[in-house]
Amino acid sequence: MNLIEIKGVTHAYKTKAGPFPVLKNLNISIPEGSFCAVVGPSGCGKSTLTRLIAGLMFPDQGEVWLHGERVTSARKTVGMAFQNPVLLEWRTILQNVMLPLEIVAPMMPRRQKEERARELLAMVGLEGFEGQRPSQLSGGMRQRASLCRALVHKPDVIILDEPFGALDAFTREDLWQTMHEMRAKEPFTALLITHDLRESVYLGDQVVVLSGRPATTQYVMEIPGGGPRPLEILYEPESVERLAILRHQIQIAQGREAA
């Protein structure tokens, strides 16, 4: 069964100048436990898509299904991370990671919340930094903490909107590997928005290319294998070929935007 099902979603923002179409007949299916990477020209509607899945907004037409239920309100079963890690400076790293539990499971004993947060922080290599403030950490470490926060309440799906976009190349590759390690230890379904084709091929089980605005599903690539993989895989002929195809698709998508 598909965990996320996006069926013929069309959406326009209402602006003073009239409706502003952003998504048009968009279709995406993400099986449970699978990692879907979404690429597309900037401004095509990718973040809008994440907000529709999270139930922060509802489409004009079409349906969003999550875990066999139609999304008609915000769900407790998603986790989100953005390019900006948006950690709260008045909380320690540990308290930041615990935040979703305070909303989703207010009755859970504090000890249990703490244990869960510590477990995740250890998984991403932030053991020993639990008591630090966000500003004391590097950008990469903050993003790691933000990923922990997205996962702490064991959501059905985590929605990642360009979480690695602002990091330097080496830190970014480190985090890709962390992503794979986390999936191996604690499987989750993910939708990742990215600008980086290499990232999409390295992390995704499926790469969806969106057309220019209004975005529609332009191309879907399945990437067999799954599970953790070495970074070198990106230099193998299959990956190089995939990257070439995706680059070509992006160019088409950008052409459409210009038209």
Binding site: A54, G55, V78
Partner: protein, 253 residues
């Protein structure tokens, strides 16, 4: 390290007093031109009871006005920060109101509520000081990055939870910045009323009567007392800021 924070300011005050004393002595200024610190002490001692009584009046009125300003200003800031329409509607009104010199409002208020001295004083202290609070809270709330809100909203958190857990604490540093300005303004407001309508008493009245009696050392003594009260109030706000928004201070490297 800590003793330095106490000793240095005290030393600075002593140096200032000595310089002042010397200046008056050197120029041989008479008391009606410039009283010297050595004249102030007798004035304090002679009117000790009045200083305590009126000082207390001035203090509690200022604090009461400030408290109303905090409640009202925060509320107004919330309304303006959370609703774009309300912001557009209220902002020009607020700016216009703030532009009116409060000295002109004092007689109006005194006429409207004749004899209600406490009420009038608190009202002016409040009117003069809520503006920076309202503006800072509204800016703090309206500049909240949407991602902060989305993190919690996607978990089904209510608007109130988002406000309580994120928007409010995030606004605290700006709030305290504004409160530091507001505390000084409220103090000015209180004294304005006490001087213009002296029947209400307070340190402003003591100043007024010293002036009437050409008691120059007393006038200066009142000024010093006002300065001391102002410093006291200001540092209370600083202490509260340390407690509630100390996290905003980045540690020095």
């Amino acid at each position: 390290m800590n003793w330095q924070k106490i000793v240095v300011p005290i030393a600075a005050v002593v140096v200032l007093m000595l310089a002042w004393e010397w200046l008056v002595w050197f120029n041989d200024w008479p008391n009606y031109k410039m009283a010297s610190p050595s004249d102030l002490w007798p004035a304090f001692v002679r009117f000790q009871d009045l200083f305590w009584l009126y000082g207390w009046q001035t203090l509690w009125r200022t604090v009461a006005g400030l408290a109303v300003a905090v409640v009202f200003g925060t509320f107004l800031g919330m309304v303006m920060g959370l609703s774009k329409v309300m912001n557009e509607a209220l902002y020009p009104l607020l700016v216009g109101f703030n532009a009116i010199p409060k000295a002109t409002v004092v007689p109006v208020v005194a006429l409207m509520f004749v004899g209600q001295h406490d009420f009038n004083t608190i009202l002016i202290a409040f009117l003069i000081s809520f503006f920076p609070i309202a503006v800072s809270v509204s800016i703090g709330l309206s500049t909240l990055e949407p991602e902060y809100r989305d993190i919690l909203r996607s978990l089904g958190a209510s608007r109130f939870t988002v406000f309580w857990k994120i928007a409010l604490p995030k606004t605290l540093p700006e709030f305290f910045g504004a409160l530091k300005v507001a505390v000084t303004l409220a103090f000015i407001g209180t004294n304005l009323v006490e001087i213009i309508t002296p029947h209400g008493r307070g340190l402003g009245h003591l100043f007024q009567s010293a002036q009437t009696n050409s008691d120059f050392p007393l006038m200066f003594a009142v000024l010093i007392a006002l300065a001391a009260l102002g410093i006291f109030l200001y540092y209370i706000v600083v202490a509260l800021e340390k407690i509630f928004a100390g996290w905003a201070e980045r540690p020095a490297h």
